[in-house]
Symmetry: C2
Subunit: 343 residues, 2 copies
């Protein structure tokens, strides 16, 4: 293992025959330094393998140029795509991004916030875990005086800017589409959790039924954790009803996939006998047979918008007067699993 | 926003009528402190909303109890599952995990290492980006004297412990299976990159052909970035050959999915006319129609094994004499896309 003496800004200064403070300013993108000088400094810094002592700098200036992102799981296409949108903007502004996963676990969510604060992030962007009902740990971020912005899974219990899609509208559009396809007995897979996205989707479902004079039937609304296996169980439960549903609108693509498997195993024709729709437009939804109708959430846009608000807040020294709430419009993606035309 | 005076270990000590150093020891899990005292301290710490000044502690002890993980993308099921395996063990040992994505971008990979070192991680676990051919940035981690362990996408250019699966064996098994299904003109999708996993899969492909006396045909080996769109293009290219292949073994599930789409669009029967196999056992491979034959990489096990080696190294003060190389055996998952029996 190497163990060379550490390269400092003085070494860079000496090599370029300029002062150390000019080097420091150049490295900190001070506008008073010419582009030419800045480039020369960066080049020399790289040649010498200079590594800024960011931890010391962070303690001095209170800036690490690192943003923390908390997501339930980074492997859902939706979350990873939002993260990508945030990273794109962050990288352009010379910020780095570190990610923590809460796995929808309340205790772990608290720990991830500890970890990010320990890592001295300049601010945190988060999507709240499904099981979180107390938000004190998020208040700790605010108490530190650093920006906190929420996206997708948000809460009004915190005084904080948030970016979300109109889950109500997305759900309403799906159910309206299913009704227009002739479905009358439309089941809904939802979550028992307090997270607003599922409540909004349920509200959209209920309102669409009401607007088309279809009675809301409690036995068609199945609550679960919305994973693939839950979708399977929910579908099996629905198939035991005296009158089976002629459509299922699942608040998650994975649960919709579980339902599709059970329907195919039981030789039901999709969409002719049971139409299916999910929510999120996960990439796999276009790989299934039939391809799954779903709702696109413009995740990259959500990421960019979230980052925009975050950096505004950061620039203003976290003094933004009124938290913003940005609601993006989702898009209904109609595919074969619900399109009965021609049948 | 709150701005209360910061709670210290002295406040906890006062409340419990014990010394501050006992509180400190209890918080640091010192075995000399009784379980009863430790629990009382943790409870009071929580009540008072005590937040340890980990950054100061890190500077004092050189320990942040945070591990950094670098993956190309966290949204691939394989990587997220390895990360989960690592996190499981880390959490049990009271370590927290932060993740950075390199997006297979060399410059970004360097920056993620900067970010993690700035965040004062106690060590780094990484899977190398597809485009990385120079490893100096990884040497910087080693120069810091903190553990570095690589998994899956590793390199022998670094003196470092690594955990991987036997990509050669996985590929060999796939091709042997395709030959046993009667396929004789087996194409292979591979990457032009230096990452060893793809070289090993290509070697397994070539050796299986050789062992079964099937000539290696350069025009059947298609190099690309192995994303879905690349798989589509590669398949289109293969369909233009004078004699089309009767099977495709793709080094990636996504590229195999692209090939499946093109074959279905062109009304080829899978597997009767063209058999298909991927690599990684991404969850979507069981959702496709036909379901995709693939290779399972035991990603959770890989994560656990990687974490095990990492923590051994950490415990020994990063003084492990000889880097370990652990090679896990993969499993062939045979599904409809390659199973011709009965036709």
């Amino acid at each position: 293992m190497e163990n060379k003496p550490k390269v400092t800004i003085h070494d860079i200064a000496e090599k370029l025959n300029i002062t150390a403070s000019t080097v420091s300013r150049a490295l900190n993108n001070n506008p008073r330094i010419s582009e030419l000088t800045r480039k020369a400094v960066l080049k020399t810094a790289k040649q010498l393998n200079y590594q800024p002592n960011n931890i010391a700098a962070a303690l001095r200036h209170g800036k690490s140029h690192i943003i923390g992102i908390i997501v339930p799981t980074a492997d859902r296409a939706f979350f990873s795509s939002v993260v990508r949108g945030i990273e794109d903007m962050a990288n352009n502004l010379n910020y780095k991004v570190i990610i923590c996963q809460s796995y929808d676990n309340y205790e772990k969510e608290i720990q991830t916030i500890d970890a990010l604060l320990s890592a001295r992030v300049d601010g945190i962007i988060a999507s709240i875990g499904k099981n979180t009902e107390n938000f004190d740990h998020f208040k700790r971020i605010q108490a530190k005086g650093i920006p906190l912005v929420l996206f997708d899974r948000t809460t009004d219990a915190l005084e904080v800017s948030q970016v979300m899609i109109d889950d109500y509208l997305g759900a309403y559009k799906v159910v309206e589409h299913l009704i227009q396809q002739g479905c009358r007995r439309i089941a809904h897979f939802t979550s028992p959790k307090k997270v607003s996205i599922f409540k909004e989707r349920l509200r959209g479902y209920a309102d669409a039924l009401r607007d088309y004079d279809i009675p809301y039937d409690e036995e068609l609304v199945v609550k679960s954790n919305l994973q693939l296996v839950d979708g399977r169980e929910s579908m099996e439960q629905l198939l035991k009803l005296k009158v089976r549903p002629d459509a299922v609108f699942s608040a998650s693509d994975y649960a919709a996939m579980g339902a599709m498997q059970v329907l195919k195993e039981n030789k039901f024709r999709i969409p002719q006998e049971v139409a299916l729709a999910g929510f999120s437009n996960d990439p796999f939804t276009s790989f299934t047979d039939p391809a799954l109708t779903t709702v696109d959430q413009f995740s990259m846009t959500m990421g960019k918008k979230t980052a925009e608000i975050f950096f505004e807040q950061l620039k203003s020294g976290n003094k933004t007067a009124v938290p913003q709430k940005v609601v993006l419009k989702p898009e209904l993606i109609i595919r074969e699993s619900s399109l009965k035309s021609g049948t």
